[in-house]
Subunit: 329 residues, 2 copies
């Protein structure tokens, strides 16, 4: 193994004091951003790792988060949470925390698991992925004073707990505006059934953009469960109408992929956009809205460690997605 890298090595490399390096590791919020960045770069360049056991003794904390992992799914959209998990583990690691995984079959089961994990492992907190209307899990954690942050807004009351989210409506608005700018007027939307916070938010971005262009009457809207076959079916039905759309904004890459299959043989090309910029979108050239997943994971870690350090940062973080242009729109 290479020579042992210590705090002193990092301090020398970053041209700061050892105390500053220690601050970056244990109380990053008190260090100026530019200095923090320089120290972080030195830490990365040198491959420095704080001794976890020593740190744990010092802080009296386990420095351990838990996050749920979903069952294996057939996979186009599942990659979003996987990418978030990679980002979360990397950022947590850099902040001296580890991530523990658990599975759960539903809200009740997840709450039972919280109880189990808190009893067994002395966890510092939870990162929940996804939230729903009337989420019983966040209420359970809040009642017990367990620190947590959600990746996803609490749809009923945005003030109720700390969260990080991506502005889905802004994403579909960008996609819709892009199609309007290209001259499209009949722009359809294929979404999920009403009632899911994420799906409704993405639909709203398309609807308000169409309304702002005075085109809400010309905007057919479909709702279906997620899936390639479902997207293909909805698109075929849209194409069979008297005044078929010339473009479609889809709530997910799976539905967009299905829509693409339906428009393969149309006389006039139909533009299609997806959502989540999955590896499949990249592979087939699908224009899609990309969530800043690494940034979202980083902000979740920042928020949670801030809560643990008694130095909470802005507790509601809404990040902007970007439209990745490819061949389909």
């Amino acid at each position: 193994m290479a020579e042992k890298v210590t705090i002193a090595t990092v301090a020398r490399h970053a041209r700061v004091s050892r105390q500053t390096v220690s601050n970056v590791l244990n109380a990053p919020h008190i260090v100026r951003e530019e200095t923090r960045r320089r120290v972080q770069e030195a830490i990365t360049a040198l491959g420095y790792r704080a001794n976890q056991a020593a740190r744990q003794m010092r802080t009296g904390r386990s420095r351990l988060f838990a996050v749920r992992i979903e069952p294996t799914r057939d996979g186009i959209n599942g990659s979003v949470l996987d990418r978030f998990l990679h980002g979360l583990t990397e950022t947590a690691d850099a902040a001296g925390y580890r991530v523990m995984l658990y599975t759960a079959t539903g809200d009740d089961d997840e709450i039972a698991t919280f109880d189990d994990l808190l009893g067994a492992y002395d966890l510092d907190g939870f990162v929940l992925t996804g939230t729903d209307h009337g989420d019983p899990r966040t209420a359970w954690l809040a009642q017990r004073g367990v620190p947590f942050v959600t990746f996803g807004r609490p749809w009923d009351d945005p003030e109720s707990h700390p969260w990080v989210d991506v502005d889905g409506a802004a994403g579909t608005a960008q996609a819709t505006q892009r199609l309007l700018d290209a001259g499209h007027r009949r722009i359809a939307f294929i979404g999920w059934p009403e009632g899911s916070g994420v799906g409704d938010d993405r639909r709203a971005g398309w609807r308000t953009t169409m309304a702002a262009a005075g085109l809400d009457g010309a905007a057919p809207c479909r709702a279906t469960e997620d899936g390639i076959a479902q997207g293909e079916r909805e698109m075929r039905e849209l194409l069979a109408t008297d005044d078929p759309p010339t473009a479609v904004v889809c709530v997910s890459d799976s539905l967009a992929l299905g829509a693409l299959r339906a428009v393969r043989d149309t006389a006039v090309p139909v533009a299609v956009t997806g959502f989540d910029d999955t590896p499949v979108a990249a592979a087939i050239g699908l224009t899609s809205v990309s969530q800043p997943l690494a940034a979202a994971a980083g902000r979740c870690v920042e928020l949670l460690t801030g809560l643990l350090d008694g130095q909470p940062t802005d507790p509601h973080v809404l990040l902007s997605p970007t439209l990745v242009l490819r061949h389909t729109a």
Copy 2:
């Protein structure tokens, strides 16, 4: 929340004694397979969860594994280890274990992390994903008597430690045989540079199958780093030769996707197969070799918990992949 499910509830449902349920949870190897399966089914059906803290006190173990997670990558092949991780967490959960994640930038860094984690978290063991020639990580763990299992064979000495792997050579042999049966004779291989255990194994399956058909002379073989662009370039070069192949077996879906781009406009259709049956392969109709990842994860957990219980099962598990036929071959 629903009524609390206890060991007694599970016992009643599975028509066994409470002691048997307890044995399934704590010493599954002493329970007959048929009984174990019935109890597991009852556990799943009822959503039973053992109280982790109580169990930990009883067994004196933390019931915690650690597994490395790779940095986010651009994503076609990364999904393989993600799917393995989902399977691992699910199976570990069912066996009463949790999974902790860590990251590492290389072997030395990973060994330093082992040290760190063992000092801080009282881990029961590690699941290593991937092994290489002369792997220093397995030697480090073995020297210290830390229980571990690798998903991937130790290429230098298959007897050196417990492992689970998928027979890559059998996968490419199936793909090659399928192409031979369809009448192809000039079947190329696009692989990774020599020296990686996994890549060399997959190449060997193609080579021996061609040799068995008396066609090794007619088998052009290319090696490149992984990637879509690389696959496209290698395939274009193969097509530009005097006697171009009519089919190609690729070591990965990324390279296969690139090869597909290169053959899009050929006069005679060229058959292409990939490896790993990624979501991209499913989305674009690429014939690909599928690894039984959930089974591999399950066997890893079985092996590791067997070691911990002092009841090791067969320590070397080689699973067979299957060829998933789609449109490209």
